[in-house]
Each structure stands twice: as C-alpha cells, then as structure tokens.
C-alpha cells in the first residue's frame, strides 16, 4: 500500500527537473507581491481570479502547445484556429441559427480534425512542423477572412447565459465559467501527461523518437495525436474566446501562437522536447498575465513596454534553463 501511494505520488516529489517550474512559480509570486505592495486593490483575491478569467483561452491553448512542444514539434496555427473557432461559433449560432451546444461540439471536432490533418502531413510526408503548421496558420486565417471580413457579434441565449453568469466564490469573489472550463482542462492535461500511457509516449517521443520506436512505442500515432490535441485545445480556446468577447472576428488572436510558445518556454518546457510540465505552462500564462495587469495598473506605461518586458523575461528564463541544463550536462553544444 505504501509502495502504491509512493508510486502514485512520485510525480509530486520535487527534484532537479522541477526547478524551472519552481522558478516560474517564484517569479509569479514575486511579481504579484510587487503589484500588491505598489497598488491598492491589487492584492485582492478577485485580481488573482481575474488572471484566470482574462486568460482562460490562452491557458487552454498553451496546454495544447505543451503537448506539441514536449514531442519536439511546434504549432504555429493555434492563433488562427482560435479565430476560426470563434468565427464558426458566431456564424453557426447567429447566421445559421443552430443550437449553441451543437455548434460548440462541431467546432471542437473541426479543430481536432484540422490538427490531426497537420499531424498526418508532418508524419507521413516528413514535412517540417514549422512549415506544415505555417500552412495551417495561413489556411485557417484565410478561411476566417473568406467567411467574413467583419466582426460578428454573438447574441445567443446559451452564450449569453454562460458569459454573463459566473461561479460565486466565498468573499463575494467570482470566477467565470470559461475560467472554470480552463481549470478543468488543466486537471485533465496534468492527469493525461503524468499518469497515462499517452502521456508517457509523448515524453518518450520527445526525448528520443528513435529510442521510442525501438522500444515499440507508437511514435507515429503519438505525433499525430499531439497535433490533434493541440487543434482541439485551440478550438476550445476559440470557444472560450468567443464567450469572453461574445463575438467572432477574423483578426482575433493575431500572434497568439507566440504568446502560447512564450508561456510554455517561461513555464520551463524545453523546446527540443522530452522535458517539461503542463503546470509550468499555466504558470507561464499567469506570469504573462500578471505583467499585463501590472502595466494596466500603472496606466501611464504603453503597450509596447509589455512586449519588451515579455522579451526580457523570455531571455531570463531561457538563460536560466541553459544554466541548469549545462550544469547537468557538462557538454556545450556547438
């Protein structure tokens, strides 16, 4: 029994491989504390919950990106798929008059198939992920613009009901249903990556695809799977984005793939694959979110400072990752 508990709890035991995630956690706490000291009302629970409310879609997208990056791939199409999903939600409910749950289910299926299609091209024809998902990015964004050049507002009973209500929490705080969905997604992804065969395959393929194949793991299926998961997460992120803005817009989520990649990297996942945690990616999104919140509390700072701050942070984290990695392995690349 003890052995069983230990084995189950093993992923929680802290080790060197958790250092990047812990550093991200520390940075998040530090940034939040600085904000709380500097500004009135910043330290409230609601500001903390708002981070989840305002970034629910990015959290979900970053979770999908984590799968892809863990296998050593990359998915540039996520921002476009978010926009396309939002557009499809708006068109399905407003122009076609279909029931919202049916539309959402359809959007999730389309997103998953879109991702799986890219995964198939990457695997079967050995097209580089960068190029295959770039074509996917063009395609999804192009379909968005072909569907409509303008924003479409969503005024649907189901969407309104979900968007305007929220989960009441103690102390008069609230959490939007979109944020609740993203937290459920986090729990599912953490479970899948840590305790299922699929998760183990993802880490194995990312560690060394050749070894994974030699061990008899389904490398091909896993590679297609991660892009399908990323497609699903982007579609779900798109639905959450549509809920958040109550609209579909062909120019939504421009450049979101970079935010997602940045969040995954800040969260300590290594881009060559094989090492990293979903929780890290969530913390990465929260770090980006808290920077934006601080800058908005500051008021006088312009939006470009956000970009510069994110760039500096990215540099800090990557340099730190390299330091840790080079201490572990004395070999220097190049």
């Amino acid at each position: 029994m003890t052995a069983f508990v230990l084995r189950r709890a093993a992923p929680f035991a802290l080790g060197r491989r958790h250092v990047p995630v812990l550093v991200t956690l520390g940075l998040f706490v530090l940034a939040f504390a600085i904000g709380a000291v500097r500004y009135e009302n910043f330290g409230s629970a609601q500001v903390f919950l708002d981070l989840f409310i305002d970034n629910a879609f990015l959290i979900v997208v970053a979770l999908g990106m984590t799968f892809v990056i863990l296998t050593g791939g990359i998915d540039l199409s996520v921002g476009s798929v978010v926009a396309l999903s939002g557009m499809l939600c708006a068109i399905g409910t407003m122009k076609l008059g279909l029931p919202a749950p049916l539309v959402i289910a359809g959007v999730l299926v389309i997103g998953t198939l879109f991702g799986a299609g890219m995964g198939y091209v990457i695997h079967a024809f050995q097209v580089q992920p960068f190029i295959a998902t770039l074509a996917g990015m063009f395609l999804a964004r192009g379909i968005c613009l072909t569907l409509s050049e303008n924003q479409i507002s969503i005024d649907d009973g189901f969407f309104d009901a979900v968007a305007l209500n929220s989960l009441p929490l103690p102390g008069e705080n609230r959490l939007s249903w979109g944020a609740v969905v993203s937290l459920v997604a986090v729990a599912v992804v953490v479970y899948v990556l840590q305790w299922t065969r699929t998760g183990r395959n993802v880490y194995a393929v990312g560690g060394s695809e050749q070894s994974a194949v030699l061990m008899g793991l389904p490398a091909a299926r896993t590679k297609i799977q991660v892009y399908a998961i990323s497609g699903f997460c982007s579609a779900l992120g798109g639905v959450l984005f549509a809920l958040y803005t109550l609209s579909g817009d062909p120019t939504h989520a421009l450049g979101m793939e970079l935010d997602a990649i940045a969040a995954v990297v800040i969260g300590g996942t290594v881009l060559t694959g094989g090492s990293g945690y979903a929780i890290g990616s969530v913390l990465g999104v929260l770090v980006l979110g808290v920077i934006k919140t601080i800058l908005s509390f500051e008021g006088t700072l312009s939006s470009w400072w956000t970009r510069i701050a994110i760039g500096v942070l990215l540099f800090g984290f990557i340099a730190l990752q390299r330091l840790i990695a080079s201490r572990r392995k004395a070999t220097t690349p190049v």
Binding site: V121, F125, A262, W304, I308, I310, I318, V334
Partner: protein
Amino acid sequence: MNTASLAKRLIGHALFWPVTVLVVMLLANIVFTPGFLDIRIEQGHLYGSLIDILLFGAPLILVAIGMTMVIATGGIDLSVGATVAISGALACDLISKGHGLPVAIGTAVGVSVLLGLWNGLLVTRLGIQPIIATLILMVAGRGIAQLITGGQIITINDQGYKLIGGGYWLGLPFAIILVAVALAVTAVLTRRTALALLIEAVGGNAEAARLTGIRSRGLIVLAYVFCGLCAGVAGLMISSNTLSADGNNAGLWIELDAILAVVLGGTALTGGRFSLAGTVLGALIIQTLDTTIYTAGIPPRTTLVFSAAVVTIVCLIQSPAFRARFSRKKRRRPAPPVPTNPQQEVAA
C-alpha cells in the same frame, strides 16, 4: 543523350519545381491579364507588372537571402521582421530630427548588425536553440520599434531617402539594383570562396565541423550578423518606399515569408545545404502569387487560402516521402514477369 534521360535530369534538378511553379503562375497571369508581360518605358523609367513584382519583392528577396545563410547553418531567424521595423523607425526618426542621410542610414544599418550579433551570440555562446533565441528579439523588437516611433507613424519628406526603396537609377528601380548587387556579392563570396563549403559543413554538423578545425561559432555569428544586415537594409527600403515608419506593421510576418521563400527554393530547414537561386525563386513565387491574386481580381481576403494551398503543394512535391510514395506506385504496376523456367533464366 536521349530525351527521356534529359527529361529525367531536368526533373531531378533541384530548381525544377520552383521554376515550374513560377512559370505556371506567370502563364496563368497572361491568361487573366493579356498585357501582363509587357514592359514599357515612361519618362526614362521601366514600368510593367514584372518590374512591379521585382520592386515590391525586393525587401523580401533581401531578407530571404540573409535567412538562407542562417538556415544553411542549421538555424532560423524569427527576428527579421522586428529588425526591419527597428531599422526603418530609427532612420525615419533621425531624419525627422534633422540628421543627415549618412547618419540616419549608418545608425540604422549599424543597429541591425548589432541585433544580428545579439542573436548570433545567444545561439553560439549560450547555446540557445535558434528559434527561441530569435523569438526573444521578435517579441521585444517590435516593442522597441514602437518605443522609437513613440507609438506613432513617423512621416518624413526626404527625396534622397526616397531613392532607396522608391527611386529610379539608370531607368531601373534602385531597390532592384540594390538587391541584384547584394545577391551578386553574396553569390561570389559564398560560391567563389570556400565560405559556402564551410557554412554547409557547420550546418551539417557544427560539432564535427569544429573538430575538423572550422571555426563554427564564428561562422554562425557571421550568418546571423549578415541576416541582420539584410533585414536592416530591407527595413530602409520598406520605410523609404512609403516615406514613413510604422513600428507596429512594418515588416509584419516578413520572417514567415522569408522562411517560406527559403523552403520553397528547396533549402531544407535542417541546414547543411543551401541554394541562393532557389531562395530568390521562392521569394519571387510568393510575390508573384500576391500580384496574381491582385491582378486576377480575386478578393485579397482569400490570399491566405491560396498561399496555404501553394505552400502545401510545393512542400509536398519536394517531400521525398511524398515523391517516393508515388514513384513506388508507378514502378509497382509493371511488375517484373515471373520467370516460367528459373533454370533457363539462370543459364541465360
């Protein structure tokens, strides 16, 4: 040599498919727009759709040439768009503050080189993966460009500066001459010296190249510096063409177009081998696609769908796995006849 083997050699040539795609596009244009290939002279200047393709494609070709060298070393540079924006913003800002052209251009180009150096050092000294090392500048760079322009679009009125991207020299658009010179210099430097060989050795296996005595790190830094320089000059061209600097939109997505141009030209992203001619063809394909969509009256909003289709088709054609699948099928059909009498066969 018979025609069959000649055709086989032609199809086998690395540039066969890019050239074919480009020719098909130009033919399609002639069908849509009868006078498409006409080039006329007005007021001593050359005009025409083909000249337009070259002129508007000039910054992309330049950026793609720099990108080719980086990709040849096995790297990638996502920050070129940000460098384009910073370079244009710096030059316009200095000119608007009354500085002379040499100061403005010199500063912009100098800073671009420094940005390339920064990327190169991150890749070689810190050992950061190129895609991430350059992502830092891609994210932060556009913020820096906006910081320089103060979030505004700076407009200037300097006819000397206008020459770089929108002016004419000897009847030809100056930008085209500039690109031709850059291309010629790069081609001579790489193909007439051992530089190409060294860069390809580094791209093939940087560690192995270092062990054979090639200064891998120096060459990689050089490639990023060159890429930064190309992007900086392209930034001057773009801002000069409109006589304005827009920190937010100048060179937006040009890094993706440049990478695409390199890949369409047949250079593999894994590095170790490159083709400058292929890259120029790739950039021309992208620019011709844009022009085709525009002149054929296809709504511009569907441009991206066509881009996606062309990218997919060209990449599939070039994918060895894709070609193998089809040639295997072709070969399988005329299955070798089973010898009726094996012994007779052996005797023969």
